[in-house]
Amino acid sequence: MKFLLLSALLVLAAAAEPDGKLLFTQNCSPCHAPDTKLVGPSLVEITNLYGKNPDGFVHWCTTPGKKRPETIEMPSMAHLGEENLLAIRRYILKISKGVVEKMDTGEDPFATAPTLVARPLVQRIFMPNAGPAAIAVAFDAKTSLCWDAGVCRLRYAWTDGFIDGYPYWRGNGSNLAKIVGKIRYTESVSPFGSKTPVAFHGYDLIGGLPVFRYSAGALEVGESFKALPDGKGIERHFTLTTPPSGPLTLLFPGDSKTSIISDHGTLAKGILTLTPNEARDFTLTLTFR
């Protein structure tokens, strides 16, 4: 009986001490793991920082800030109180003893996902030098382009790769995708002029490649692309389901690195002039120099 009573009292005494493991699980474990950085630093790193500094630990937890630019600010744990925070610290020190931190290699673990390596490929993501509603298109291993659904126009084309989306995908979207390869063509203005109101209607996939649908003023436009072999350029096909009533002039100022020819109408000084009939369906060939 005495032994039982003693055990019971010990249980009571133990219960009076805050349960560092439970507190850690409830308040810290979503963001902190023993051997890897999750949202916040690993327990190994926390031990390095605060192993000999309990006051510093409590101070940080009650008035936290942001130490690493790539992470979010830790929420205050002031509501737990000093005694509980110290119990959490003891638990952290205990379970990180002898643990070695696994370092993040910075490489995309899903870079070879079947849906990312497929060609052709359409991928919406935050892109450099474009609006936030941009769309990246990979034709083949060589040629890619960026079409902007916010302003309904081609922004640029490049060769020798597609995008590295990992800067975006590894986090919450606070970084843009990176272009892999070399920009070969940049378009400065919509063919329909910068003042013509546009509305994006979406795209159809034909053979995996998009036909962008949009309206530009009163015109209903379909715009699609093909890559020339070996990254030599792109073919750009327009269809106007509501042809204009008179001659149509479109802007193709081009850039110094690309030559542009049209299979219909006359293209001179960056202006393509088409008869209403020619405007129904025409193709431009952009050859990278």
Binding site: L5, V39, S76, T115, V122, R124, G131, N172, F200, G202
Partner: protein, 502 residues
């Protein structure tokens, strides 16, 4: 306490059945498609029993439970966070830039038409401008919810939509470049400089007509209709949010975060950052429920009503809500005061193998609950867990009703009378300020003057004195056991007294 009595108590406790959630639910990890980033943005079951799942990197796939197989329907979407199957077999998907209808026109099993249904909202390019929904009401209208931007980042050089001049920083100062950190504080912790950020939008059934429906949300990563047809929205703790709230949203509501007010038609153009909180407090439609931060939930997600067969009969129709940071879901107990919804929130599947990152919930035709996980660099996880009720009833708090001076609690089975005096009741309130989160104010342990059991022993009436408006009451039921010896599953209720019953 007399030592002998203490030991007797210990002995009695040992004979009780300390139930675990695994006594009632099976937990199973769903095999995910090989090599893919399995952070789940959206999930919904189709009538044919397949589940449509949207992934972080933009894939939409179908999962067939019977064969445990996956097939690709669409890819390349920008952070899809909501999905809604339509009667004709197409899917509505909310991505960052637009609400899109995915159609399989040629019938080969993969979408070949990505049709823009609605893109009439602004994008500043700020990472925090997530887009949620759509959900459809019984009349066919669609509802979407748009996040505010975060001052963790500026806006991009190119934006979509009008830029509001209202704010301390000019467009140029808000734009990336230079030392953003040195000016970010002046942007407001969360900001709305392009249209409809911080709004719930109602769209006509075809998506063509926009009605700005309610404003004042911050990061509403949970939107859904409950079994009674109320539009529920969860939001996240942060600035103007001392703790995470649950709203039943009505047309014209202002839900507390002021940044979005500038897009109201009747707004006078003044900067919400410069207005005293008391002014907003008058406009604020209070939350139906509050999730005490760090205790019940930190970052609540999608609300979904539990169908028949998924849970014991008495819980059918109750709303379940996901939670990112803690290994739990939240179950909503309905109450109504003066015609307004008020909620008691109870942990569900807490301390179970559930894990964290519980982002999207979808009930299968067989009543299984599929839970899709994500993290997006915040606290979270990946992949899908399936939870299936084994049909055994369990001891649960099934209802709560506020009274002028306490609460009536309804349980699933008769309660052991000897434990009533061990129920604990506390309450606290929160300040309404621009500060990011808040500690509790005026926290009190309340004396329960009476705890009475009904004739059938299933209801407990707690009397604690007059309830106080805008206080969160926490009822600690951990010591309760059923007459059968069952322990309680979900041991506390958090009840926000938005209004005191008369």
């Amino acid at each position: 306490m007399n030592p002998l009595r203490f030991i007797t108590l210990l002995a009695v406790s040992a004979t009780l059945h300390a139930a675990e959630w695994t006594d009632y639910f099976e937990f199973e990890k769903i095999p995910m498609p090989a090599g893919m980033d399995s952070q789940i943005g959206a999930m919904q079951f189709l009538e044919d029993g397949r589940m449509a799942v949207a992934f972080h990197r933009g894939e939409v796939m179908f999962y067939t439970p019977s064969s445990r197989s996956w097939s690709l329907f669409a890819s390349g979407l920008h952070e899809p966070l909501g999905i809604l199957p339509e009667a004709d077999g197409s899917l509505l998907v909310m991505q960052r830039a637009e609400l899109t209808r995915l159609r399989d026109v040629d019938g080969d099993g993969a979408a070949d038409r990505y049709e823009t249904v609605f893109d009439g909202f602004g994008m500043s390019g700020n990472y925090h401008e997530f887009a949620f929904g759509p959900v459809r009401d019984k009349d066919g209208s669609l509802f979407i919810a748009l996040n505010l931007a975060s001052n963790g980042a500026p806006v991009q050089r190119e934006i979509r939509g009008a830029f509001s001049p209202v704010g301390e920083l000019t467009r140029e100062q808000m734009t990336e470049g230079g030392d953003w950190k040195s000016r970010s504080e002046k942007a407001g912790r969360m900001y709305s400089r392009v249209p409809w950020r911080g709004w719930i939008l109602r769209l006509s059934s075809d998506g063509k007509q926009l009605e700005p429906y309610a404003c004042g949300v911050r990061s509403p990563d949970g939107i859904g209709f409950d079994a009674k047809g109320r539009l529920l929205v969860t939001d996240n703790q942060g600035d103007w949010r001392p703790t995470s709230p649950l709203f039943a949203v009505k047309r014209g509501d202002f839900l507390g975060h002021p940044a979005s007010l500038i897009w109201r038609k009747d707004w006078d153009g003044s900067d919400p950052q410069k207005i005293r909180p008391a002014t907003f407090a008058k406009l604020y439609s209070p939350a139906a429920g509050l999730f005490p931060y760090g205790e019940l939930a930190n970052s609540p997600t999608q609300p979904v009503p539990a169908p028949a067969g998924a849970v014991p009969a008495d819980l059918v129709g109750q709303t379940l809500i996901g939670e990112m940071n803690q290994s739990t879901l939240v179950r909503v107990l309905d109450d109504e005061v003066g015609g307004n919804f008020q909620a008691g929130l109870v942990p569900f599947l807490d301390k179970s193998p559930l894990g964290i990152g519980n982002h999207r919930l979808a009930f299968a035709p067989d009543g299984s609950l599929y839970i899709g996980k994500t993290g997006l660099s915040w606290a979270g996880s990946t992949a899908i867990t399936r939870v299936h009720w084994n049909g055994k009833p369990f001891f649960s708090l099934d209802g709560v009703k506020a009274t002028p001076d306490g609460f009536v609690l309804r349980f699933s089975e008769p309660v052991d009378e000897t434990k009533l005096t061990d129920i604990k009741l506390t309450c606290h309130t929160y300040p309404y300020t621009a500060r990011y989160g808040s500690k509790r104010f005026d926290e009190q342990t309340l004396k329960i003057s009476r705890a009475e059991l009904s004739n059938n022993h299933c209801d407990i009436t707690l009397t604690c004195g007059p309830l106080k408006q805008a206080y969160l009451y926490q009822i600690d039921l951990a010591p309760l056991v059923a007459e059968s010896g069952n322990t309680l599953m979900g041991k506390r209720a958090s009840y926000h007294v938005a209004r005191v019953p008369q």
